[in-house]
Every structure is written in structure tokens, then in C-alpha cells.
């Protein structure tokens, strides 16, 4: 059975990418955010992503503006996800924000519906504990830009059931994505490692060893990475990177996760990376 309608809660940087990917694969969505401005930015961003997608991927359909908008219901009312067959949560990386969302979703969604938590670092077991259905909560760590990246990191919480994993795999198959399934500890595999090198790259920059372009160039030209650590941080959003480092630091109480002061200062200055036009690089 194919998924017809998926709920997407939180339509910021990554949530809008998830929406574009759903639409490109013929799945309808209910898009929820507390901020009207986020909803508007997401609408414009999704239209642009979907419109230009065929340039980057030969298999992407050419959809008209109306076809895109007709597939997504934008709303500020969380209750509207009650008809969705699966819910993907992408709100701000802060437990104080996520926890009440899961408590409400647990009441709103029918008993069989699974929740996919698109979090960078917060433990899936912890997220499950905010609901009465921890067996139906699973981590889906999408990569940016969502419609271009063929692989996602999937995280099994302590209580996540085999049926939930099978359900998610069906959804991912529809999105033509492959899962790498890992176990649960904060930061999982990807971010527990990547945030160490993004943070250290920020320290190296702060210490004046090299320019941002040079730091990124060493990763690209010497290590063969597609993107450097500072570009990647800019793409994720420096505010999200800082939040993730804070979660890692709190979770492991290990000083290796202490956030570089310059990163925090850039966020306070509003230089959050690509989404705000400026971070380590200018966009």
C-alpha cells in the first residue's frame, strides 16, 4: 500500500526539503508550522526546488506551480495532521520545543500512525518516551538537499518495532531513498562525528590558521569530500549546528563537544549560514 498523505511538522530548512521530496514523488502533504513566515518561505522555496529539480535529476517530473500547491496544505493548526498516514517532525532542535509537539501528536494521530523524528542529535528513545507509542517512533535523519540525497540515516530507538521500521522503509522506497539503519545514542553516527569536525573547523578559523575557503578546500581537494566542513555548517544552518553541539555536550558531558565561541557569536549576529545569506561564506 502506497502512502498518499504525510504530515510534515516544522517547515524550516529541512522540513521544506522533505516537502519538496514528497511532492516530487507524488505524495500529498499537510505542512504545519507555528510561524506564518516559515510557511511562506517554505512555499516559495519548495516551488523553486521543484521547478528546478528536472535540471539536476533527469527522473524528476515537471510539475506546474498549481500541481505543487495543490499537493500541499499549509497550516498553523497541528490538528490538521489527523488524517495523515505518517508524520515527519522537523521542528527546532530543542527538546523543550519537540517534547510538547510529540505529546500533542500522540493525542491527535490515530493509534496506528508512526512518527518519524528528523532530529540531528536528540535521542529517539527520549522522543519515544514523550508518547504512549514508543514502538512507533523512529529516527529519520534526512540529508540536505533532501530531494538530491539518495540515503538517509535511520535510527532505531530502544522500543522501535520491526513493523515501524518496515513502514518507514515503504515510505523511503516511495521517495527512492535507501536507509542505513543504526542504533540510538545522541547524535547517532552522522552528527556525533560530523559536528566534531565542523566545530573544530570553526576553531581553526577562529584561531586564524586559514580562511574559510582554504579550510573547505582542504577537505574537498585533499580529502575528496564533496563539501568542506564550514560550507556544510552553513548549509545545515549555524543555529542548528550550535543547538546540536549543545545537545551532544549535555548528553555525553564530554568537553570535546563544547561549542566554538565564534559559532555562537555568529548565530547571535544573525549570520546563520546559507538560509540567512551569510555565515562562513556569503550567499
Amino acid at each position: 500500500m502506497n502512502f498518499k498523505t504525510v504530515g510534515v511538522v516544522g517547515v524550516g530548512n529541512i522540513g521544506s526539503g522533505v516537502l519538496a521530496s514528497l511532492v516530487l514523488h507524488g505524495i500529498r502533504a499537510v505542512a504545519v508550522d507555528v510561524s506564518e513566515k516559515s510557511l511562506e518561505t517554505a512555499r516559495a522555496g519548495i516551488l523553486q526546488t521543484v521547478r528546478l529539480a528536472p535540471v539536476l535529476r533527469k527522473d524528476a517530473p515537471k510539475l506546474t506551480r498549481n500541481e505543487v500547491l495543490e499537493r500541499i496544505a499549509f497550516t498553523t493548526r497541528l490538528e490538521e495532521v489527523s488524517t495523515c498516514e505518517f508524520i515527519i517532525e522537523n521542528v527546532t532542535e530543542d527538546w523543550a520545543v519537540k517534547k510538547p509537539i510529540y505529546e500533542r501528536l500522540d493525542r491527535i494521530a490515530s493509534a496506528g500512525v508512526c512518527f518519524g523524528a528528523n532530529t540531528s542529535c536528540i535521542s529517539i528513545t527520549r522522543i519515544g518516551s514523550a508518547t504512549s507509542r514508543p514502538d512507533k517512533v523512529i529516527g529519520i535523519h534526512f540529508m540536505n538537499p533532501v530531494h538530491m540525497m539518495p540515503t538517509v540515516e535511520v535510527i532505531r530507538g530502544q522500543h522501535t518495532s520491526a513493523e515501524t521500521l518496515a513502514t518507514l522503509n515503504r515510505l523511503l522506497a516511495q521517495l527512492k531513498k535507501e536507509a542505513i539503519v543504526v542504533n540510538d545514542l545522541p547524535g547517532f553516527v552522522s552528527n556525533r562525528i560530523s559536528h566534531l569536525f565542523m566545530n573544530e573547523a570553526a576553531f581553526v578559523f577562529q584561531d586564524g590558521l586559514a580562511t574559510a575557503a582554504q579550510i573547505d578546500a582542504i577537505f574537498k581537494k585533499c580529502f575528496g569530500h564533496k563539501m568542506g566542513p564550514l560550507e556544510t555548517a552553513d548549509l545545515i544552518g549555524l543555529d542548528t549546528v550550535v543547538s546540536s553541539l549543545d545537545v551532544l555536550y549535555d548528553s555525553f558531558k564530554d568537553s570535546k563537544f563544547r561549542c566554538c565561541p565564534l559559532l555562537r557569536k555568529m548565530v547571535e549576529a544573525g549570520h546563520c549560514g546559507r538560509k540567512s545569506g551569510r555565515g562562513f561564506h556569503v550567499y
Partner: protein, 85 residues
Amino acid sequence: MNDSKNVKDIVRNFINNSINIDALGDDEDLFETGLINSLFAVQLMTFVERKFGVEIGGDDLHIDNFKSVSATAAFVVRKSSGQVA
């Protein structure tokens, strides 16, 4: 006017400023050489639309239109021919 030389200069400048490479040949294939990734391709297309007031329509959605400085400039000139920029 969106004349070829002018457009080429603007496009080359935009790419140079964004990806920081020393010498970019006008015919160098940006994608094949791995100089730019899909994110930058979207930035380039968005820039072209805003800067030159052209629209990338359904039939233009082809990577060949943006694969090099020359190709991008030719696309802009073709799209804006007959219209004063």
C-alpha cells in the same frame, strides 16, 4: 543590453566569487569537473533569472544550458533577444 560579452563577465564574476577558483575557462564544464555541486547550480539559475530578468521555463530545464560560463551566457542572450534589459 544583455550582450554576450557583458553577460559572460557577470556570470564569470558570480561563479568566481562564489566558488573561489583561480582561473575559470569560459568553456570549462562546471559539472563534469566537479567545480560546482547541485546546490550551486540552483544558486546560479536563481541568479541568472534575477539578474537578467529571464525566466527558465519548462523547455529550458536542461543542464546543458548552464554547464559553462559560455553556455549560461548564450542561454541568457537567447532568452532575452529582442528585449531591452
